[in-house]
């Protein structure tokens, strides 16, 4: 008897129609897949991507070498050397972030008293050689210079929540 029921079901292709119903439902439903890289997901202004160092509008670098980011970094990815600049101000002579160590927790940005080190929305970067992802101070400042507009907008958008 059981054999006969099974035979009847398979002849009527019942299983197939069941499957096709699911397929058909999704065929007409709204698509959620993003066609990266042609399409991109929307980002929060709090997105934590590649780091950058900012300057003040007059061109002076913001970083005052307080070393709080170095101290707070849980991955020990930041290395800072300090010296007194000719004008007597406290400045970094070396500011490196090893992005292969970084876990993008955002603590450095959080701890920075002058909003110098920030995490931008950029996540599309790569390195071809060992050491390419070791970002030095000029590289970080260059990132800051390039994306300052976006960075400033994001900080402004987040300001009321901080």
């Amino acid at each position: 008897m059981k054999y006969l029921i099974n035979l009847f079901k398979s002849l009527l292709l019942l299983e197939l129609f069941k499957g096709m119903t699911v397929t058909g439902k999704y065929f007409f439903a709204r698509h959620v897949t993003v066609q990266y890289p042609e399409e991109k997901t929307p980002q929060s202004f709090r997105f934590r991507g590649l780091h950058a160092q900012r300057r003040y509008p007059n061109g002076e670098e913001r970083c005052i070498a307080c070393k709080l980011c170095e101290a707070v970094c849980p991955a020990l990815a930041i290395k800072i050397e300090v010296a007194e600049r000719e004008d007597g101000s406290r400045r970094t002579t070396q500011y490196d972030i090893d992005l292969t160590k970084c876990i993008f927790c955002g603590f450095c940005e959080e701890s920075c008293p002058v909003d110098a080190i920030v995490e931008t929305r950029i996540y599309e970067y790569h390195g071809e050689n060992r050491g390419d992802l070791y970002y030095t101070k000029p590289m970080l400042l260059a990132m800051g210079d390039k994306y300052e507009e976006q960075i400033a907008m994001d900080r402004a958008a987040d300001a009321k929540y901080r």
Binding site: I64, K67, L68, A71, V82, S89, R90, P113
Partner: protein, 768 residues
């Protein structure tokens, strides 16, 4: 004893104690800035306000004495409100830029504001600004706006350092701490103001912006400079010493540190550091491997021992070397068959050898010095040679002790001196003899007149008399007689006597037996009758020896000079092998301080380059020369061997017998009086750039009484030619009318005077 209650805790405390002292005894913290246990009470920061039962207003805990049955509340609503109010006012004018402040992370104000400060500032007006001050090369006052006017630095200068170099000028909002008419701070204890400053107003200039407090590793160490044996915390980062701070030890340095101990570390990484072994071949220096250098040295020594005889080998070390190094050095030299080893390079009278019952030492503990009520200080540049001992004596004098001075110069000791006798060096023995005689007479009830009698009277009136012989007395050509007389005077006044001690390991050298044996030559004889080979440990012959002319001549005449040194220096002129050794921060070792305290320490950082601890170098050299007993694995093993089975305290004894006291014929012409300037005492200090920039490290001048200058027809400030022996130098003439006539004060141990002869003796000064 009084019973009080703090925060519900019953406490018994001494009558006359303040609330903050009682609270600290009981382990209850009361916030404070201006209060410091070693300084007088100012009560001007008001941070320590506490509530006291029955008092209508909060009271400052630092200035309120306890009374029987007092009930104190440190965390009641009234107390906390008062403390928060004070904190808010302190922060009104304090810049809120901790991230760029050097004190950030170790700041009392920062810590307290976490506990008592508000989350945000209600003050939006302009802040007070105070201009930066230049206080010299050691203390940075770049950020005087941060000052909260606690006046700790001012009180330190007045009370501990003995001179008020900083003061608070103006009133109210305009009050600021400044030096007197834009002067610098020249005290030899000035670095302590940095520690005392609760905020970032006074910070260390050499350390400025070098590192954050949380990045530094902290290692315990012992000072390698003066004979006090101050306890240090050496702070390092990336295998480099970045700062030195005191470790509190009430029996030694209390909570202070002299500038020499604090800033000498800047010399550790000097460009002059020797980092690879070097050999001179055909007049050219070559860097070689350790193996080659050690074999060269070993073969050379063996060759001379087998050829000219072992007694042609002499070993000299400074008293800044560790116990282990000195022990292995003497063991090595004795193993080769020579008895010529010595560490007392600046001593000129060795007649006490064999007559002395033990190692000369302070004769008492350092803490006892603070308790003495009569001092007789003979031949000591006290403030410069022993800054912290001088501070201790200063405190004792403040409490009523009387200090008498017998010396050849009359430098300001910044304390009340009861009596002083300033005579030429050759009259020192005579003066002490007179004091001794006057003391005998005094005991028989016959008071004499004159300075000697006055000193005797002062000593006779004391209960705890202390006779101290300074470096000048120890280096004096009649040192043994001075010692015998000091012993006599101490015995007559039922007191103690001792040596202040020249260097960190002056006592350790004796314990390590780094003194010549029965047939051996002492430091002076070894240079007077030149040897064929010299083994030098930490020695810069022209700066560390009593007679630089003689030392250099002996070195240049020698066939082989093996110099173990941390620095490349003038040894390159006369040495044949340079072996790079590690200074005290890079090696483990032991120093025995003047009071006989044995203090071992470990290295704080790794040796620079290929430098190695000297005890290891000596050990290998011993193996190469096939001397037995050179198989210690650790410096502790060497130390235990050196001090094996001996009670250190039992080996310390200043007693001396069989010394004939006789006056020497008055010298013709000028007599030289020479001190080793405070920042020229040893190799590390000489290379510390900040110390060398201080006023104390200025180029030596020829100091004479103005009558003597008139005789020469020279104006003060003019150049004079100073000659002694075969050498002469050009120095600036200066007058000091406190000097006795017939004396020229020309410092030793400095490159500018290294061409001159012995530290004592006649010297010629003429128009240049």
């Amino acid at each position: 004893m009084i019973n009080i209650e703090i925060d519900g805790k019953q406490i018994q405390t001494e009558n006359g104690a303040t609330i903050i002292e009682a609270a600290h005894q009981a382990g209850i913290a009361i916030p404070h800035f201006c209060y410091h246990k070693k300084l007088s009470i100012a009560a001007n920061c008001r941070m320590c306000l506490v509530q006291v039962e029955k008092a209508p207003k909060p009271l400052p805990a630092c200035a309120t004495p306890v009374t029987e049955g007092m009930k104190v509340f440190t965390h009641s609503e009234q107390a906390v409100k008062a403390q928060q109010g004070v904190m808010e006012f302190l922060l009104v004018n304090h810049p809120l830029d901790c991230p760029i402040c050097d004190q950030g992370g170790e700041c009392m104000l920062q810590d307290m504001s976490v506990g008592y400060g508000g989350g945000h500032s209600r003050y939006h007006e302009e802040k007070r600004m105070v201009l930066a001050k230049d206080l010299g090369p050691l203390v940075s006052a770049e950020e005087m706006s941060r000052c909260i006017n606690c006046t700790r630095c001012v009180r330190f200068g007045q009370e501990i350092a003995g001179q008020m170099e900083l003061g608070q000028a103006f009133r109210g909002e305009h009050a600021e701490v400044m030096s007197f008419v834009s002067g610098t701070v020249n005290s030899e204890l000035s670095g302590n103001m940095i520690d005392l400053c609760p905020v970032g107003a006074l910070t260390s200039k050499p350390f400025r912006y070098k590192a954050r407090s949380w990045e530094l590793s902290r290692r315990r160490s012992v000072s390698a400079h003066d004979s006090l044996g101050s306890n240090l915390a050496v702070q390092t980062k990336n295998n480099r010493v970045l700062r030195v701070l005191p470790v509190e030890n009430e029996d030694i340095n209390e909570c202070w540190l002299s500038d020499k101990d604090r800033f000498a570390y800047e010399g550790l990484n000097s460009a002059e550091r020797l980092t690879r072994p070097m050999i001179k071949r055909d007049g050219q220096w070559q860097e070689v491997e350790w193996q080659a250098a050690l074999e060269y040295a070993g073969n050379g020594l063996r060759h001379i021992a087998n050829g000219a005889g072992a007694e042609q080998i002499g070993a000299l070390a400074t008293a800044n070397s560790t116990l282990e190094e000195l022990y292995l050095l003497q063991k090595l030299v004795r193993g080769i068959g020579s008895q010529n080893v010595d560490f007392r390079l600046r001593q000129s009278d060795f007649s006490a050898d064999g007559k002395q019952q033990g190692a000369p030492w302070l004769g008492m503990s350092i803490a006892d010095i603070g308790k003495a009520d009569r001092f007789l200080i003979v031949g000591s540049f006290l403030r410069k040679d022993h800054p912290l001992l001088a501070a201790r004596i200063r405190q004792a004098v403040k409490k009523g002790a009387q200090a008498s001075i017998i010396h050849s110069v009359d430098d300001d000791l910044l304390m009340k001196v009861a009596h002083k006798t300033i005579v030429a060096p050759d009259a020192l023995v005579d003066v002490l003899t007179q004091v001794s005689k006057a003391l005998t007479a005094e005991k028989q009830g016959q008071s004499g007149s004159g300075e000697a009698a006055a000193i005797a009277k002062s000593l006779a009136g004391g209960e705890r008399v202390t006779v101290l012989l300074g470096n000048f007395a120890q280096q004096h050509p009649q040192a043994a007689q001075l010692q015998a007389l000091a012993q006599q005077i101490a015995a007559l006044s039922n007191g103690k006597f001792g040596f202040l001690g020249e260097a960190a390991n002056g006592v350790g050298g004796y314990l390590a037996q780094a003194t010549p044996g029965a047939n051996g030559l002492n430091a002076s004889a070894m240079l007077a009758t030149p040897r064929k080979a010299y083994l030098l440990l930490n020695v810069e012959a022209e700066l560390d020896c009593a007679n630089p002319q003689q030392a250099i001549a002996a070195m240049q005449a020698a066939d082989l000079v093996v110099a173990m040194s941390a620095y490349k220096h003038h040894a390159t002129d006369y040495a044949d092998v340079l072996l790079p050794i590690a200074p005290f921060t890079e090696t483990s070792g032991t120093f025995v301080s003047a009071e006989g305290r044995v203090q071992s320490f470990k290295g704080a950082v790794k040796p620079l380059g290929e430098a190695r601890p000297a005890w290891k170098v000596l050990r290998v050299l011993g193996n190469l020369l096939k001397v037995e007993g050179f198989d210690q694995d650790t410096s502790e093993a060497v130390r235990d061997e050196a001090l094996k089975g001996t009670d250190v305290a039992a080996r310390l004894n200043n007693a001396i017998g069989g010394v004939e006291v006789k006056a020497i014929a008055a010298a013709n012409g000028l007599q030289r009086v020479s001190e080793v300037p405070i920042y020229a005492t040893d190799a590390v200090v000489r290379r510390s750039a900040p110390l060398q920039a201080t006023a104390d490290a200025a180029i030596p001048q020829a100091w004479l009484h103005s009558d003597e200058l008139k005789k020469l027809g020279v104006q003060a400030g003019a150049m004079v030619k100073v000659s002694q022996g075969q050498g002469s130098v050009q120095l600036v003439a200066a007058t000091d009318d406190k000097l006795p006539r017939g004396v020229a004060r020309v410092a030793a141990g400095h490159a500018a005077t290294a061409a001159l002869g012995a530290m004592f003796g006649t010297i010629t000064v003429e128009r240049a």
